[in-house]
Symmetry: C2
Subunit: 210 residues, 2 copies
C-alpha cells in the first residue's frame, strides 16, 4: 500500500480564506487544526473555457439523493460533471450543504456590518489566484458544520463537533480551484470559540493509481 | 372580510414556462389545474439596479431554519431581502427546495438530450419579458414536489400528491419577475402522468390592506 505524498500545504488563518489550484486526481485534505471550526469550501472548474462552472449543492443532491455525499460519492457542478469525490473523513461526519455562506448582509442584520464573512473571503481568495468566476456566491460545502434536520423539516444549528486534527479528504475529478474559508461566524454558535485556523493539504493521490 | 381580486391569469402549458411581472403586495397563486404536476418557481427582483438579485434557497433556509418555509414565512434573495411570503396552501403541503431544476445535461444523462427542461423554460421565459438575469440557474422553489428526507439524510423521489385545483399562494414583497415552469420531467416519477398545465393567477391582495 502506497502512502499519499503531500505536495503542498496552505494554512488558512482563523476567519480568513485561501484558494488552492489542484489537478484532477490530486487529493485535498482539510484539517481542523484546533477543533470546533467550520470550513466553507467552494470548488470551481479551472480554465477559461469552463466559464462559471462550479460545485452546485442542488445538482449534487440530485445525483446522490442525499443531503450530503457519503464517502465514495461525488460532488458535481452546475453542469452535472463530477468535480470532487469524498474519499475519507476522520471527523464525526457532520457536514452541511443547506446553509448559505455568511456575508456582509448577514452580519449587518446581526448588527455588526463590518464583520469578516465567508463570502468576502471567497471573493478575495478567487481574486488572489486570478479565477474569473462572476456568478452569485455558491452554496458552500460547509465541512464540520452540524445542521441536523428534524422530522418536521426544522433545522438546528449546533456547534462543530470536531476535535483537533480531524480532517476530511476530497479527490479532485477536474482541474479545479478549491477555496476554503475558516468561517468567521462568532455571533451564532456554530463554531466553538474564536475562529481558528484550518490546513489545506494537497496530496499527490498515488494511492488510487494501479 | 374582503376577497382578493384576480387581476390577471396566465396559463402555463404542460412542460412549458411563463414569466409574470408582479408588484410588491400582489398575491401570486399557482394552481395545479389537473393535479399531480410539479412546478418549478423562480423569483427575481425587478429593476436594473438590482442586477442579478434572485430568490436563494440557501439564504431562505438560513432565515427560517426549515427545509421549506411554513405559511407566514418568507423567501429571501441572495441579498437576504424578503421577495416572497408563503401566505396560503391548499395542497397536501409537500414542496421542495433541495433539487436542481432539470436541464439539458440531466436529460442527456437520461438518454434524451433534446428533451424540454425547466432550466430552458426559465431562460426562455426571462427572455420573453426582457429580464436581464445572467447568473447560473437558481435552485427553484419546486411546488408540489415531494422529496422527503430520511433520518439518515437520504432523499426519496415521490410523485406529486396534488389533486386538481390544489394551489399555493405567495405574496410578493418586492417588485419581481416570477417564473413558473410546468416541469416536463416524464422519465423519473415525480409527476403523475404527462406534463400538465399550471395556472398563475395574480391577485390584487387587498385582503392584507388595513
Amino acid at each position: 500500500m502506497q502512502t499519499d505524498t503531500m505536495t503542498r500545504r496552505v494554512e488558512v488563518p482563523g476567519g480568513a480564506g485561501r484558494a488552492v489550484r489542484v489537478r484532477a486526481g490530486e487529493l485535498v485534505r482539510i484539517v481542523d487544526i484546533l477543533g470546533g471550526q467550520v470550513g466553507d469550501v467552494f470548488a470551481f472548474a479551472a480554465g477559461e473555457q469552463h466559464g462559471n462552472e462550479h460545485h452546485s449543492a442542488e445538482h449534487t443532491r440530485a445525483v446522490t439523493s442525499r443531503l450530503f455525499p457519503a464517502v465514495g460519492e461525488p460532488f458535481v457542478t452546475d453542469r452535472r460533471r463530477p468535480i470532487l469525490t469524498l474519499v475519507a473523513d476522520t471527523s464525526p461526519g457532520h457536514h452541511d450543504m443547506l446553509i448559505a455562506a455568511c456575508d456582509p448582509q448577514r452580519y449587518a442584520q446581526l448588527g455588526v456590518p463590518d464583520h469578516r464573512s465567508c463570502a468576502t473571503n471567497l471573493w478575495e481568495a478567487l481574486a488572489a489566484v486570478g479565477h474569473p468566476y462572476t456568478g452569485p456566491t455558491p452554496q458552500p460545502i460547509n465541512v464540520f458544520m452540524r445542521i441536523p434536520v428534524g422530522d418536521d423539516g426544522t433545522l438546528s444549528w449546533l456547534p462543530a463537533p470536531t476535535e483537533a486534527g480531524d480532517a476530511i479528504t476530497f479527490r479532485a475529478e477536474l482541474d479545479a480551484v478549491v477555496v476554503v474559508s475558516s468561517c468567521p461566524q462568532d455571533l451564532v454558535g456554530i463554531n466553538r470559540g474564536a475562529p481558528s485556523p484550518l490546513a489545506v493539504e494537497v496530496l499527490a493521490g498515488q494511492g488510487r493509481q494501479p
